[in-house]
């Protein structure tokens, strides 16, 4: 039984369809990566799941509940969190306020989750009173992930979590993603660092022009010569 199923969706902006029949699933505990060339519709898949792009055909099911075309705050309530690419913190809010915003829909005590995030990212605890805008790119990414964790979600969508980061920080970020996965949170991410991402993912999808091109385990996709030629730089 899959956690998330994306069934044959067609979606896009205005009159233009970006996705032309994408199929996808994420099982419990999995890390799943989406790779593909620019314009393939990778980020659009995430935005569509999250209700930011209108689905014209097909459906999206999360834990037996249809979430097709729900409002973003309703998707969040279903147990799904989304970390957009870049500009994913509130710069004038402190680190702690950013995390509190992650728990906005909760009216109960979330100090346990807050503590869990600080244990995962001890550096964030030290900087909790600083405005998030003053942090480095890698630290901002941690705040953004921490914010997503505040709801104790079953699935997190990460849109290019390593975009614009220095190589040393990229490794750290992939470690962090595995740590989050170790907490029992499934992960669906879009990544440009395809090799590294495939190596750590259970499964992967290769998208091209809004369609599924390949679908396999991370290891098999890495070994696939056609995928290698197309996206992994030989």
């Amino acid at each position: 039984m899959s956690l998330l199923t994306v069934e044959n969706i067609r979606a896009g902006y205005g009159d233009v369809d970006i996705l032309n029949g994408v199929q996808m699933r994420v099982d419990r505990g999995e890390i799943v990566v989406i790779i593909g060339p620019n314009g393939a519709g990778k980020s659009t898949v995430m935005k569509t799941i999250f209700g930011l792009v209108k689905v014209r055909e097909g459906r999206i099911v999360f834990e037996d509940k249809e979430i097709t075309n729900l409002r973003p705050d309703q998707v969040v309530r279903a147990g799904l969190c989304y970390v957009p690419q870049e500009k994913n913190v509130f710069p004038t809010l402190t680190v702690e306020e950013n995390l509190e915003m992650g728990a906005f829909i909760r009216n109960d005590d979330f100090s346990k989750e807050l503590q869990k995030v600080y244990e995962l990212f001890p550096a964030m605890y030290e900087k909790r009173r600083q405005p998030a805008g003053a942090l480095s790119g890698g630290q901002r990414q941690m705040v953004a992930m921490g914010r997503a964790l505040m709801l104790d979600p079953r699935l997190i969508l990460l849109d290019e979590p390593t975009a614009g980061l220095a190589p040393a920080i990229v490794d750290l970020m992939f470690d962090n993603i595995q740590k989050i996965n170790g907490l029992g949170v499934s992960i669906l991410m879009v990544e440009q660092n395809a090799k590294q991402a495939l190596a750590m993912s259970h499964r992967g999808y290769v998208l091209a022009t809004g369609r599924n091109r390949f679908e396999d385990t991370g290891r098999n996709l890495l070994a696939n010569r056609e995928v290698a030629e197309m996206f992994l730089g030989g």
Binding site: L52, P72, D73, K87, N88, V89, P91, T92, M101, L151
Partner: protein, 287 residues
């Protein structure tokens, strides 16, 4: 020296009134991304709603104030939910133009109900206190004290409450606020409650300091805009400083030029700011 101090007193009183208007304008701009041209007429509406209580029940202005504030906040929310809400997805310039329409509707309605002539909350002369040759009227103390109280309350709201923090978050990045699960529409409603309420307080204070007239708010809109831009539009704290700066500049200017040019002083400062530092003193958004 006494004249300078006297102008400083007037400047702080006027600056307090302008600040209250500019805070709301700045909040609305930060969250909804359009300059709200009907803000001046919300100021007028607040003044007249309080006037109803003062004339019909003989209530003191300070008792009428909360009613004027609540009524104006309600009107602002209603205007938003009936009109602006339908225009959320269109270009900001459409919202701007529709707010000019709202301004005209409000002003005409006020004129229709309460007439085109001047009105006052209280007749007769208030005897001022005198300190070292400087006159301070009791109303001045109420205006400045009331403004300080409201600003402190706003500060606590923005820094300590969940809704206040969400307002700052939405002003930072509305798209991110949406995907974080923040209920965008309820935050917008809160923005109008606070923006409309503070505008009403500005109007009531303006009515206490001078008199009521259907275009009182429209006339003060220019200095209010100047204050918001000076402080960095979208930054409510900047709007407070901007308001005081504009108020003081307008009063000091009367020593060199005719008082009828006061609005021109605000306008000149606004243009100067836009040329020299378009983001405002406190680095708000580019206008």
């Amino acid at each position: 020296m006494a004249e300078f101090l006297q102008l400083t007193v007037y400047g702080i009183v006027l600056g307090s009134i302008i600040s209250l208007g500019a805070i709301g304008l700045s909040l609305v701009y930060g969250i909804l991304r359009f300059p709200h041209f009907a803000h001046g007429d919300l100021i007028t509406l607040g003044a007249y709603l309080a006037f109803v209580l003062v004339t019909t029940m003989g209530a003191p202005v300070l008792v009428a104030l909360p009613v004027g504030v609540a009524g104006t906040a309600l009107a602002a929310v209603a205007i938003d939910q009936v009109l602006y809400r339908r225009l959320r997805r269109v270009a900001p310039v459409i919202l701007l133009i529709s707010s000019v329409g709202v301004a005209l509707i409000l002003r005409s309605a006020i004129q229709l109900i309460w007439g085109p002539s001047n009105q006052v909350y209280a007749t007769g002369i208030q005897f001022p206190y005198r300190f070292a040759g400087v006159n301070i009227k009791p109303d001045h103390l109420i205006i400045v004290g009331g403004t300080i109280l409201l600003v402190v309350a706003l500060h606590l709201f923005l820094q300590k409450t969940k809704v206040g923090k969400a307002m700052r978050a939405m002003s930072d990045n509305a798209d991110l606020a949406q995907v974080t699960g923040i209920r965008v529409n309820s935050i917008i409603i809160w923005t109008w409650i606070i923006g409309g309420g503070l505008a009403a307080a500005a109007g009531i204070f303006l009515g206490m300091d001078t008199r009521l007239h259907p275009v009182m708010g429209w006339r003060i809109l220019l200095p209010v805009f100047a204050a918001a831009i000076l402080g960095g539009i979208g930054r409510p704290y900047g709007a407070i400083i901007g308001g005081l700066a504009i108020g003081l500049a307008q009063e000091y200017s009367t020593t060199v030029i005719s008082p009828s040019y006061k609005p021109a002083v605000a306008f000149a400062l606004m243009v100067l700011m836009l040329i020299v530092r378009p983001t405002g003193l406190f680095a708000g958004r580019k206008v």
